[in-house]
Symmetry: C2
Subunit: 417 residues, 2 copies
C-alpha cells in the first residue's frame, strides 16, 4: 500500500482558545495548502459542530498575508466549541460530510476532550472503511495533556501570568500601609498555570504563596501563613488556582451550584473575591483580589516566541505526519534530557494515551507544605516562556488576522473511495 | 538676583503609581545628578511622608545602569503615599527637614492632590523666606489633571486597556453560544481610561458600548441596548468605568459603605461582578465580568513608548526649569494644533490651576446617547498609545530596576540661607 492519499483536508479548533492556537492553525493551513496530495483546505466553523452543521470555509480563498497574521492572533480564528459528540448520530453525520467534501485528512486542535473526539471519529471512519487520516494537534493553557512534555498555549499563558504577577507585586508594595493581594489563576484540576507565577522571581518579584489544586487547601493554615508573611514584610502576594478544594474535595470558590459547560465541567470564578473577604476578616489587612480571567489566555501581545514557534511546528508536523501515513495520533513534544539548554522534539502519540486524561503537577515539584513550587518546576517552566514575539503593530495596537471565511461550495464529485 | 541656586534636590512620588512614573523619576534624577548647582540628589521614601519621617535615600549612591532601568520599571520605585498634609504641623516639619539637608529643589511627582501638596509646601517655604524651587511633575493614569493636554501614565494605561479589550473581544466570540462581557476600567470621576477602550477598534475588535462617569448611568437603557446588540450579533462587549453613577449621583458599584483612602475618596470595585449579575438576570445570556484592576496601571510590558518618552521629558524639564529659576509650577503638555501628526510641547503651569481640580471628558466627545465616544476622543487618544517600548527582558521576563536605597546621612552643614 502506498502512503499517498489524495483528497481534501479539514481543520477545526476546539475548547478554550489560547494566545497561540492560531499559530497551530497557520502551521496546518500553510503546510496543507502547499501539499500536492491535498486538493482543498477547509476549516470548520466552531470546531466539530461546524462539521455537523456543514459550515465549512474554503481556506484556499484567504489572502496569504492575512493567514500569516494568524501567528500572532489570539483566540480561535475559526471559532470553537465545547461539544461532546453523540456517538452514533453525530459520527454518521461526520462521515456524510467527509464524503461530501472528500475529506481525507482531519486535523483537530484542542485539549483532552478534543482528543477524545478525534479518537471517536478515527475509530468510526475506520470501522466504515473510509480512508482518512486523523491527527490531533494539542493546545491548552492548562498544560494537562498526558504524554507530551507540555502543550502549546501553556508557555504564553505562563509568561503572561509571571509578568503580571511581577508587575502587580511591584505595584502592591508602593504604599507603606501594607496589603495582601490574592491573584486568581486559571486551572481547574492542575496547578501548571498557578505554579508559573513563581517565574515572577526572575523579575525580582515572586509571589509569597502558591496554592494549586493538587494539594487540598487548608484555609486555617493559609490564613496563619499569610498573616505571618504580611506582618514580616508588610505585604503578601498569594497566587491561587481557581480549582483549589478543601480536604473533602469541595471547591473553595463554592461555585458548585452554577452552570456547567457542555462537557459537564463546573464554571468556576469569583474565588479571588471570596478569599479576599476571608483574609480581610481574619487579618484586618487591606486585601485586593485580582482575577486574571480571560486576559491570561488571550494576551497574545505577551505570547512567548518559543510557544508560538512550537504551536506552528505542531500544526505543520501534524500535516507532514499525516501525509506520510500516520493516523490516530496526537502531535506531542519530548524534551531532550540532559541537553545543554532547552530542546524539544516532535513525536507522535496514540490518541488514547491522552484522550480524557489529565496530567497533574508531580507531587515532588511542590514543596512539602503545599504552598510553593520546587526548583524542578521552575526549571521545567522557564524555557517555555522565553522569547519575545515580533507581532505586527499598527497605530500602537495589534494587527490581527481578518479572515474572509468564504463558505465552501459543495464539490462536483463524489469521487469513489 | 541671579538664577543660580546651589543646594540639594529632593524628589518624591505620590498617589497611585503608573507604568511610567519611574521614567519621570529617571528624568529628574539623571538631570539633577548632572547639574553642577545640585549638590545632592535625595529621594523620599513613600512620598511626602518620607520627608516627615526623615527617611531620605541618597540617589547618588545608585548604580547608573540600575537607574536607567527605571525607564521600564512600573510602580513607584521610591514608594508612594496617599497622605493629605496637616498644614501647620507638617509644613513646619518639612521646612525643618529641608533645612537639615539644605534642600533647594523639590520635585513632587503626582496627580491633582499631590499638586495641592506642592502648592502648600511652596507657599509655606516662601512665607518663611526659605529659598527653594518647587516643581510638580504630573502623573496619573486617570488623565484628569487640568491645564495639561494629557498626563504621563495615561497613554500606557490606555494602550493596555485597548489591547486587552481587543484580545478579550476576540476570545469572547469563539463559541457560538453567545456571551455578554463587562470590562470594568479604572476612573473615579472621569472616563478618559474607559473611553480609550474604543481604540480596540484599530485592532478590529472595538467594544460595543462605553459607559463613563461623565454621563449618569441608566440601568434600564443599558440593559435594553446590550440585549439588542447581543441578539443581533450573538455577543456584546461593554466597557464600563468603575465610577459610573445613577442620576441621583449614587455609584452603581454601591460600594459607598466601604473604606475610604487617606484623601477621603471611596474605594470602588466589584462593579463588573455586580453589573454582570444584573445583566445575567435580565437577559438570561452567559455573562462574564472582567476587572482590569491593578493590571492596567502597572502593565509596563505594554507601556507606550510615546508615554515613556514624555514621562522622562516631564522629569527632565522639571529640573531644567527649576534650574532656570521657575518655582510654584507644574510641568504640562501643550499639543500643537493643526500640526501634521502629533506634536506636544512642554509648558509651565501655575500649580493652583491644577491643584485639587479634575478634568472631565468634554461632553461633545461623548455621543448623544452617552454610550460611546466620538471621533474627536479617538483622535485625541490614539497618538498617546503609539510606540512599542524596548524594555530589557531576561529569561523571557522583565528586568526591573533594583535600587539600593541607601539612607541619606545627615549632612555636616547647615550652610546659611
Amino acid at each position: 500500500m502506498s502512503n499517498k492519499l489524495k483528497g481534501a483536508c479539514l481543520f477545526a479548533q476546539s475548547g478554550g482558545p489560547t494566545s497561540v492556537i492560531n499559530a497551530s492553525a497557520y502551521g496546518v493551513i500553510k503546510t496543507a495548502l502547499e501539499a500536492p496530495e491535498i486538493t482543498k483546505v477547509y476549516g470548520a466553523a466552531h470546531g466539530i459542530t461546524g462539521t455537523l452543521h456543514d459550515t465549512l470555509y474554503d481556506l484556499g480563498e484567504e489572502d496569504p498575508a492575512e493567514l500569516k497574521l494568524l501567528m500572532n492572533t489570539p483566540s480561535s480564528a475559526l471559532g470553537s466549541c465545547r461539544y461532546k459528540i453523540k456517538e452514533e448520530k453525530d459520527l454518521a453525520r461526520i462521515l456524510e460530510i467527509f464524503k461530501k467534501y472528500d475529506i481525507r485528512y482531519f486535523f483537530y486542535n484542542g485539549g483532552n476532550d478534543s482528543m477524545d473526539t478525534c479518537l471517536k471519529v478515527e475509530g468510526f471512519l475506520q470501522k466504515n472503511n473510509y480512508d482518512c487520516r486523523v491527527i490531533g494537534v494539542p493546545k491548552t493553557i492548562d498544560n494537562d495533556l498526558l504524554g507530551t512534555d507540555h502543550c502549546p498555549g501553556y508557555g504564553s499563558a505562563a509568561k503572561y501570568i509571571a509578568t503580571s504577577v511581577a508587575e502587580v507585586n511591584r505595584d502592591a508594595v508602593v504604599y507603606d500601609t501594607g496589603i495582601i493581594v490574592i491573584v486568581e489563576i486559571m486551572g481547574r484540576h492542575s496547578g501548571w498555570l498557578t505554579g508559573a507565577s513563581a517565574l515572577a522571581g526572575f523579575a525580582g518579584s515572586p509571589p509569597d504563596l502558591i496554592y494549586m489544586p493538587e494539594i487540598p487547601f487548608d484555609t486555617e493554615a493559609f490564613l496563619k501563613k499569610a498573616e505571618r508573611i504580611y506582618k514580616e514584610k508588610n505585604s503578601c502576594l498569594v497566587a491561587v488556582s481557581e480549582g483549589i478544594r478543601d480536604s473533602d474535595g469541595c471547591f473553595i470558590s463554592e461555585a458548585k451550584a452554577s452552570a456547567t459547560d457542555g462537557f459537564g465541567h463546573e464554571q468556576l470564578g469569583g474565588l479571588a473575591a471570596r478569599l479576599s473577604n476571608t483574609v480581610k476578616q481574619a487579618t484586618g489587612a487591606k486585601v485586593r483580589g485580582i482575577e486574571l480571567s480571560l486576559l491570561q489566555r488571550c494576551g497574545a501581545h505577551l505570547a512567548s516566541q518559543t510557544d508560538i514557534d512550537e504551536a506552528f511546528l505542531a500544526g505543520k508536523s501534524a500535516v507532514e505526519y499525516a501525509l506520510s501515513g500516520e493516523s490516530g495520533k496526537m502531535v506531542a513534544f519530548e524534551r531532550a534530557a540532559g541537553a545543554a539548554g532547552y530542546k524539544c522534539e516532535i513525536m507522535m502519540l496514540p490518541l488514547d494515551v491522552c484522550a480524557n486524561k489529565e496530567k497533574k503537577v508531580p507531587r515532588e515539584w511542590i514543596n512539602e507544605a503545599g504552598d510553593y513550587v520546587e526548583q524542578a518546576f521552575i526549571d521545567y517552566a522557564l524555557p517555555l516562556v522565553r522569547g519575545e514575539n515580533t507581532r505586527t503593530v499598527e497605530n500602537g495596537l495589534p494587527r490581527f488576522a481578518n479572515l474572509k471565511k468564504i463558505r465552501a461550495a459543495a464539490p462536483s464529485f463524489p469521487t469513489g473511495d
